[in-house]
């Protein structure tokens, strides 16, 4: 009832106002001496802290980033056209912070946690410093639990563990964001809180991601932090740290969280812009000297906490966009060296229809192997090496036609494996299905199926297995391994399917085509 609700609000107001004790306020104050392009020089503010939030007299906020002998330089988190020379600037006494808590789930907020989705005020548990120290050595545990991405190629060959930092790198339009979104969609059953940080992106792209998440009911456990291309560079600069603080809150409470920084190339650009405006000396590619630290301090905050600290985890999937596949540029090499592995997506593969366009040779996971489920290790053990070998062989085989039988067999198997690894976006797959698919192809059960019908055969088999042998899938999902019993059942199911169902499917297809 509206009356009761407004009564409650009034009561609460009365309470708050009754408890309010007006006091004279003493604050630090300074004067703007120079302003432009998102940066202001301020005289005064002699007691200001590094990273302190400042408030300009027009209401715009800023962050003190350079404390110099006779001036404070601040980056402006809003419309700098509203700030004039001579304006007063007030210190707030707070270091830049972001709201945290469960209330943010399902919300789209900016880098300071202000709502952008028109769903009313953001409910927060408290505030957390945007910049925080990473967990110490003793606070950490080894990465040992898998983070299921739902993408067959990744879960089989570059497995990611909870608490890991896995870079997603590739040119524009190679499916980097789709990969990240798929991973979010797969966390639905896994109880992993996701934070998607969009940095310097077009608002239309962000809207599309949010829409996809909503369509798949993934916003219930996701926070979207947006600092779009049109937002001031200062907001783009702090957005990933704010997103990280939001995810950290869940990690510290013993929960699991996943944060995606899309993308850190634009983050580096924003920071380069600020650094140059702050007149810090430029280095290679005009980036400032602390560009490495910019990303290392952010990514170091990911990790698996020890059991004494609740055993929570924060997995980070930073995204880097390369220009023409150049992964040896400055920022890509930096981030590659910081992270625990990378998923390299290639434009050529993408255009030849291999999607996700994972380059098997250049993609690695340095810690995820320990976190791979036993079932996956059982079936996909040699897959990465085999596939890398196939790619090499395929390149050579283009030149000659008379190949020996074993080479031909290897090429055939490789083509079929590549086919099985193809997956459409926004369709993450459960573990049991992945294990069965890999089992099919690596044990040679698809060798006699024509290449163009591999996907059809796979889907038909999954449908058949689910209907007639539901125990196999359930056993894999439950035990996370392929027990001898389940393997025997799986073999039986494949045999039945290939003897009775698949030939029939082939015939009916043949008739319908004819």
């Amino acid at each position: 009832m509206p009356d009761r609700k407004s009564g409650q609000i009034l009561d609460r107001f009365e309470q708050e106002i009754g408890a309010f004790e007006p006091q004279a306020r003493a604050v630090d104050v300074g004067t703007v001496i120079e302003v432009g392009d998102g940066v202001a020089s301020i005289s005064g503010l002699s007691n200001v802290m590094y990273n302190e939030m400042l408030k300009f007299s027009s209401g715009v906020r800023g962050i003190a980033l350079s404390l110099e002998h006779d001036a404070v330089k601040a980056v402006i988190l809003g419309d700098y056209a509203r700030i004039a020379e001579g304006d007063a600037v007030f210190g707030t006494g707070f270091v830049a912070s972001a709201p945290v808590g469960k209330g943010l789930l399902g919300r789209v907020v900016d880098a300071l946690g202000r709502p952008l989705d028109g769903k009313g005020p953001v409910r927060r548990r408290g505030y957390s410093y945007v910049e925080q120290a990473a967990p110490s050595i003793t606070a950490r545990d080894a990465v040992s639990t898998p983070l299921h991405t739902g993408i067959l190629a990744i879960d089989a060959m570059v497995p990611i563990g909870r608490g890991q930092r896995e870079l997603i790198i590739g040119d524009r339009q190679t499916g980097k964001t789709a990969l990240a979104v798929d991973t979010i969609l797969s966390q639905r059953e896994a109880d992993v809180v996701c934070v998607y940080v969009a940095i310097g992106q077009k608002l239309s792209s962000v809207a599309q991601v949010v829409q996809t998440l909503e369509e798949h009911a993934a916003m219930d456990y996701t926070i979207v932090v947006v600092a779009a291309a049109s937002d001031p560079a200062a907001l783009q600069y702090i957005a990933p740290y704010a997103g990280c603080a939001m995810a950290e809150h869940f990690m510290e409470k013993g929960q699991h969280s996943l944060v995606i920084y899309d993308d850190l190339t634009k983050h580096a650009w924003a920071y380069r812009q600020l650094s140059l405006l702050l007149r810090r000396p430029p280095g290679r590619e005009a980036y400032p000297g602390d560009i490495f630290y910019l990303h290392s301090r952010l990514l170091e905050r990911a990790g698996q906490l020890s059991a004494e600290l609740g055993g929570g985890s924060l997995t980070a999937l930073p995204i880097i966009e390369t220009q023409l596949g150049d992964i040896s540029a400055y920022v890509p090499t930096n981030v590659i060296s910081i992270t625990d592995g990378q998923v390299y997506l290639e434009a050529d593969l993408f255009h030849s229809g291999i999607r996700p366009a994972l380059n098997v040779g250049l993609s690695v996971s340095r810690v995820g192997g320990a976190a791979q489920t036993k079932a996956m290790r059982q079936v996909a053990g040699r897959m990465r090496l085999d596939l890398a070998q196939y790619r090499e062989l395929a390149a050579f085989a283009q030149f000659g036609s008379d190949l020996d039988v074993s080479t031909q067999a290897m090429l055939d198997r490789g083509r079929r494996t590549t086919e099985i690894l193809k997956q459409s976006p926004y369709a993450p797959r459960p573990l049991e299905e992945q294990v069965m698919s890999i089992y099919l192809v690596t044990r040679g059960y698809l060798d006699d199926v024509p290449l163009e019908r591999i996907k059809e055969c796979e889907t038909a088999f999954h449908r058949y297995a689910e209907r007639t042998h539901p125990g196999v899938g359930q056993s894999i999902a439950r035990e996370k391994q392929l027990s001898p019993d389940a393997e025997a059942q799986l073999k039986a199911a494949i045999k039945e399917f290939k003897e009775r169902v698949w030939p029939a499917l082939g015939r009916s297809e043949g008739i319908s085509v004819a």
Partner: protein, 95 residues
């Protein structure tokens, strides 16, 4: 700046004599006695001789605001309302 001239408010440099300029704003004009009282209070708080520069600003609604160098002491109605507004918003956002 020539030595001995009164500095602008916001400039931290003290005059050689150790005097500082305070910019005092109020919603209504202050009489001499009130002015003297304010300057005396500022002197005890900051421990320096304070020279007053008085201004009237009706947007403050009531009370007094004084700025000395980098410090602003705000005891105006406008400031309190702003603080109250922040308190109410914050309590509405808390989980």
């Amino acid at each position: 700046m020539a030595e001995g001239t009164a500095g602008k408010p916001g400039e931290t440099a003290k005059e050689p004599s150790g005097r500082q300029v305070a910019l005092v704003k109020s919603a209504v004009p202050l009489d001499t006695k009130q002015r003297a009282m304010i300057l005396e209070r500022l002197r005890t708080r900051f421990g320096v001789q304070v020279e007053g520069q008085f201004e009237m600003d009706p947007t403050l609604l009531g009370g007094v605001q004084a700025r000395i160098g980098d410090q602003l002491i705000d005891d105006t109605v406008a400031c309190k309302l702003e603080v109250l507004r922040d308190v109410l918003i914050k309590s509405g956002e808390a989980e």
